[in-house]
Amino acid sequence: MSSALEGMAGGATTSIKARMGRGTAWLFLALLIVVTIFPFYWTLRTGLVSNASLFEGNQGKGVVERILPDEPSTVNFRRVLNRATEAEILEATGRANSASFDYLTALKNSVIIASVIAVGQTTFSALAAYAFSRLRFAGRDKIFFLYLTGMMIPPIFVLIPNLLLILGDFWFFDINGHTWLDWIPGYDSDSRTFLLGTLAGVIAPFLLMTPFSVFFLRQFFLGINRSLEEAALIDGASHFRIFRSVILPIARPQMITLGILTYITAWNEFLWPLVVTQQDKAKQPLTVALGVFTTQQPGTQPDWSGLMSGTLLAALPVIIIFMIFGKRLVDSIQFSGIK
């Protein structure tokens, strides 16, 4: 309510034209919010009704009846969570044992992957950001520039090379035709799977840094006033001490924001975990489990209500994070997008 234009539009000089313009703009925003929310609502509605009700269609029903769920029940969500009885499954799907993906296992995998990546990447990137913003050493700006060029590499470019690393193929350590794995006692290097099909394999490339995280934190650290740490340095404090007791307390909100962003990015990742865990269902995160499950669905009459329950449940953790931290994430755009 502070802009001068609004003052003009709301004051005595209000013209009908200006009012109509504002009306149209509000209408546009309202429509936008409906368009944003509706798909989520419709997914929820689909999950709450039976497949039979979906296939019946909406012929001859009023608008309200179409929008509200018909005889809502939680059975589809319980099916996804393995909390439904056999009789309920039979009734809901017409099959004795409907193929389903193991939601709870996939959820556990996603939580582990996203948490370890978020904590590791934020911590190690903060250390690097401290060096790039607060210390001076020969070649500092060159190394930082090298990191930045990493932002331009499309993930698919390093997909196969990283897969080879996960398979244990560190060719630069190969000596006389032996891979480095041959030197580990008891390791069967012929099986050649190393970290393939493990959570560690999914986590590894993102654990220590991404160029974006280092960049994001460096931008913030640069803005922190130096006088506090100079005093501490003169008193003989080490740089680790200063990092811990001066920089971290000041930068805590930004580090939490970056941690949340990293968590969500890791949660949403599809291609890399797909390649690493394709053969191993027990290690798939939610995105991969859901994607693979979809390819196994029949083209005609798939189990839509079960699938939409699973889809919504896969997004639920992100939606919860969003509800708690939404404002913080929105504010971070102001900071990261526009320097």
């Binding site: 703009a25 546009f28 250390l127 401290y130 698919i156 990092f243 291609l271 939610l286 504010d331 997008g337």
Partner: protein
């Protein structure tokens, strides 16, 4: 450069900025990560593109430029280039247009962080989830959007057809990204002095004129950034295509070759056809394309100069 020093209490010279001695423990973890998972793989990716690498055997021979020569006569490669270019064009156009509209509307009407949070929400949802939701909404028999369009006489099978698949995927991704892009532009709008609009209004300028003469020129650095981000992202569309066209008995990149974008083709060559060498050669072409486009976009749009200065 010489590190500045300060006189320590006991008269010894104290180096405030550390040097390598202080810096290396801070740098080591990230440097290992960068070296192992960014730098070396990039070099190796270039190397692989000159081999006939076989992922199953994990072996390959040096074949020189053969993979690149084959690209020239590979109709599927050129198809992927066409499909990707069409997608990038549609996606950037719709996403940027909607984002500017949303940002300008918000700038005029409200600073509500609730509204801003809501429009950002889709951006945080996994691509896989978004793709599945829209496959359901657009389902030809039961989907609510297909239902709505049939009211206007559009065949409900339309969205699954080869002509509509790329525009549909562009539409889905516009839905996911426009709010986020709008927030970037909105942040840029906050830097334009309101007095310029007051002056414009006093001179009797119309909304459209102010948009053209004030908003767009002053927003240029932000728009350049947004265009670069959107374009790099659009070239890399994968999850949505893979899930939306690959599920329910479909084949990723289908129907036919209609949605086989460059990422899907690279993936297919490496993991379905086991031709990692050719796959890497296309990845190299993609990398070079992105670098050239980014460079020229930033140059053309003079991204680092604002007319405000």
């Amino acid at each position: 450069m010489a590190a500045p020093t300060v006189d320590a209490p006991k008269g010894a010279k104290l180096n405030l900025y550390g040097g390598w001695k202080a810096a290396w423990p801070f740098l080591l973890p990230s440097f290992i990560g960068f070296l192992i998972f960014f730098f070396i793989p990039t070099m190796r990716g270039i190397y692989l593109s000159f081999t006939d690498w076989n992922l199953l055997a994990n072996r390959g021979e040096w074949v020189g430029g053969a993979n690149y020569e084959r690209l020239v006569d590979d109709p599927l490669f050129w198809n992927a280039v066409r499909v990707t270019a069409w997608y990038v064009f549609l996606n950037i156009l719709s996403q940027t247009a909607f984002a500017i509209l949303i940002a300008v509307a918000m700038d005029r009407l409200t600073k509500s962080s609730v509204i801003r949070s809501i429009i950002m929400l889709p951006y945080l949802i996994p691509n896989v989830v978004v793709a599945l939701i829209f496959v359901w909404l657009l389902n030809s028999n039961l989907g609510i959007i297909a239902d709505l369009f049939s009211v206007f006489g559009i065949d409900s099978n339309y969205f699954a057809g080869p002509r509509a698949v790329i525009p549909t995927i562009a539409g889905i991704n516009t839905w996911r990204h426009m709010g986020y892009t709008a927030l970037l532009i909105f942040a840029g709008l906050q830097t334009i002095p309101k007095s310029l609009y007051e002056a414009g209004a006093l001179d009797g300028a119309s909304e459209w004129q102010m948009m053209k003469r004030i908003t767009i020129p002053l927003l240029r650095p932000v728009l350049a950034l947004v265009l670069v981000i959107t374009m790099i992202g659009s070239f890399q569309v994968f999850d949505t295509v893979q899930v939306a066209t690959g599920g329910f008995g479909g084949r990723p990149g289908g129907p036919g070759d209609a949605s086989r974008v460059i990422y899907v083709y690279i993936y297919e060559l490496a993991f379905v056809r086991n031709e990692a060498g050719r796959s890497s050669a296309i990845a190299v072409v993609l990398l070079l394309t992105l670098m050239v486009i980014t460079f020229f976009q930033l140059k053309l749009l003079r991204a680092n100069e604002s007319d405000l200065a």
